[in-house]
Symmetry: C2
Subunit: 256 residues, 2 copies
């Protein structure tokens, strides 16, 4: 079957998009068929994959807004790398929250649209915006797993409790299959006390300890540079720390 | 009169909260009366100022949700530093978007609540969540100025166009007084090519060039450490790069 994995954390700038792009690319590099779904109106996964859409090309917005819904398979675009496809985002997605507020079953829109794609891919990784809004709930309704990137900084650590509560609410009310596969320490700078202290808290706090990945994603400017040129770091510079860390993360995920 | 300044950027993790706390503290240190307003449900300004509320203490949520609205002056809390007050946030704020969707004038809720506080402070700095949602629009309806922290990374630079479009729409439809006071380069690491390149783009692109502050906020782990102990960096370690940069930013703002 297809593993469907949401990458989420309400805290902004913790490496959600970097994880979707680079983990997805690392998985495709070792032979898995991967679909990246960009559910953030900022469309950074779309931008970071070097994809720019023709004005009339449909996006995830069209899939969930119900405007004579295109088929998901007609919305998927290929990327420059084989086995690595993308469901692109669009700024119109930011209007979905208000537009869908009175629709019955509004949290299931994405599930209904992506259902036909199950089986075509080994992994579907979904990027989310930095909020616990309808878009993120749509992703949590569809996915069966959640990966939580957590910058090794105090605010990101503080955001975990609320995220875990939200996931438990979704499990209880909408999607009992949803489970947290793990917490990924990101943007780790071993030279700084704050990074080491927050990593320590992740590895000791009861609620998080069993979920923390062994792999740590280090702060590595190559990851940011790769985003600027629209390439995953594993294809941009395979010898960099960033590439090595994401390859290791892919291996560890395959073992869970 | 009182200068009312929104600190906003839909991109997550660019230093919005760090700027509200540390710019606010730097202004209070040189004698100005400052109010920080935390309009992010993540409540990181509240956390970063070392404030934890009694369960029954009102927050900005109570001010805009209309539940027998408390007066803003009863919601304001003092902090450990003189001339530096806080209007705290609360996680319930994340429900305001849906709760207010049918209310007429929902974007003016904050303005009505904060009106009575004008004149009590020299500066009111407002933190916003990483989204262009109703909460941010409420802040844009009240404020007369916007400061835009922009991490010197590609995604943050890419977010500016959408933010500027949103601000222009608010100016045209709701608050003609709103203007962008400046763009603050943040999390700058001069050793990295990507930081230097994005700073260069900010200083050359027509739409942004005239707005970029001379002050650059450097990446400085002391800023993150100060957040962990709930103190502004200018009070936590006044000799650090972070403290110096925010003092310089305060001086430059006073000149605009
Ligand atoms: N390992 C890393 N080393 C250095 N920079 C990184 C790393 N991972 C991500 N970045 C950079 O840090 C910034 C934040 O990362 P990213 O945008 O992926 O986070 P996000 O959680 O998706 O943000 P948002 O909440 O806005 O969606 C980006 O500019 C990105 O290029
Ligand atoms: N100058 C700096 N040097 C080092 N770390 C910083 C600096 N400014 C902010 N930080 C840290 O970087 C992270 C992002 O900053 P911050 O949380 O202030 O951004 P934000 O834009 O408010 O994020 P969000 O979009 O989630 O509200 C935080 O962990 C913060 O402590
Ligand atoms: Mg992102
Ligand atoms: Mg913030």
């Amino acid at each position: 079957g297809t593993r469907t994995i949401a990458v989420a954390n309400e805290k902004g700038g913790v490496g959600k998009t970097a994880t979707v792009i680079n983990l997805g690319a690392a998985l495709s590099k070792v032979g898995h068929r991967v679909l990246l779904v960009d559910m953030d109106p900022q469309a950074n996964t779309t931008r970071g994959m070097g994809v720019s859409l023709a004005a009339d090309h449909p996006s995830v917005y069209d899939l969930i807004s119900g405007n004579g819904t295109p088929a998901a398979s007609d919305t998927v675009v290929g990327t420059a790398w084989k086995r690595l496809d993308l469901l692109p985002s669009h700024v119109d997605l930011s209007g979905a929250e208000v537009e869908l507020v009175d629709e019955v079953g509004r949290e299931r829109k994405l599930s209904e649209a992506l259902e036909p794609l199950l089986g075509t891919y080994d992994f579907i990784l979904l990027d989310t915006p930095p909020s616990l809004s309808l878009l993120t709930v749509n992703v949590f309704t569809f996915a069966e797993e959640v990966l939580v990137p957590c910058q090794t900084h105090p605010y990101a650590f503080g955001a975990l409790a609320e995220l875990f509560d939200t996931i438990e609410a979704v499990q209880a009310e909408i999607n009992p299959a949803l489970k947290i596969t793990g917490i990924i320490p990101t943007l780790f700078d071993g030279r700084t006390k704050v990074s080491r202290e927050i990593l320590q808290r992740l590895k000791t706090e009861e609620r998080y300890r069993p979920l923390v990945f062994d792999t740590i994603i280090r702060l590595n400017t190559t990851v940011a540079e790769s985003a600027d040129v629209g390439k995953p770091v594993v294809f941009f510079r395979s010898g960099s720390y960033g590439a090595k860390d994401y390859v290791q993360l892919a291996n560890e995920l395959l073992g869970r």
